[in-house]
Amino acid sequence: MNMPDRPTSLSPNLGLTIAVIPAYNEAGNITDIVERTKAYVDEVVVVDDGSIDRTSELAIRAGAKVLRHLINRGQGAAEQTGTDWALNQGAQFVIHIDADGQHDPADISNLLAPLATGDYDISLGSRFLGAAQNIPLARRLILGLGLIFIRAFTGLNLTDSQNGFRAMTRSTAQFIRITHDDMAHASEILDQIAEQKLRYVEVPVTISYSAYSLERGQSNLNSLRIVWRLIIEKFF
């Protein structure tokens, strides 16, 4: 008989933990990030966001579950799809981690630790509490402006507002609803944390900037577009 393939937790004390990796044409990185992430969670789900390369095939080979977006909808959309799937599987903790290799999966344990005690609802990775390797000056300036914007926009006092590496409890994942398909979703999540008065904590994480990750990440000009979109969405 074919039973539904529902994963069980590797660590019963913690509960089922699923990592969501949104990926768009990440064939060059996906194997490495999936294999390294598998060691810290019970299940890895890669949301292939309409890739035209071998991302899906390589992710499957590396041992991830793969959901496919028929067309590219953006990182925020892919993260929400993966989160919905994780919740359907009964995940008690959901991790968001980038596919471009910027994040170090070894930090997942640190992100989960504050949630396991029940003191916090969501852990946000911070490269400025941890280590930001090879961060270009222009990116550092943009991130600084982002902090000022987030403080004015949400009231949250953070050290790193644009970090996509985060962990959340099941109830938090059910509360937060990403509606911004693009990179603006990172700020949208912070806005929802503030609105819902969720208990958040920043956790030091390592971000490794490489030529590849900088090329794949958002441009500095795009940051301005995101600010504009968030203001329009919030007030109009």
Binding site: V66, L67, H69, L70, A77, T81, F236
Partner: protein, 115 residues
């Protein structure tokens, strides 16, 4: 003046486009009446520009041409805003559809298939 004929030709083409869209059931009668009325009013103003001066006097604007520009800019911004909201709604519907399809399909995982 040539400009009046050029603008009139443009308005008639736009009016014809609205009628064609209605005949092909792309827009309903209410929209046909709205667009039809708009282009007829524009044609009227092209040939009787003094009417705008009269309205400008009531509105406290110096010249009729200025009034037309102010109103046109306001209307264009309103239309732009509505179109942008509509595109946002469509984008969200599209994402919802793509997500529903992704979640309906069983996830792929070769390792499980090999069991």
């Amino acid at each position: 003046m040539p400009i009046q004929w050029i603008l009139t030709f443009f308005c008639l083409a736009a009016l014809w486009s609205a009628i064609s869209s209605w005949r092909q059931l792309q827009i309903d009668r209410r929209k046909l009446i709205g667009w039809g009325a708009l282009w007829l009013v524009v044609i009227f103003i092209i040939w009787r520009p003094e009417v705008t001066s009269l309205l400008a006097g009531y509105a406290g604007v110096g010249r009729g041409a200025d009034l037309v520009v102010y109103v046109a800019i306001a209307v264009l911004f309103f239309i732009l805003f509505r179109v942008s909201r509509k595109i946002d709604r469509l984008e969200r519907s599209l994402t919802g559809l793509v997500r529903a399809l992704a979640l309906t399909e069983p996830p792929e995982n070769n390792q499980d298939d090999r069991k």
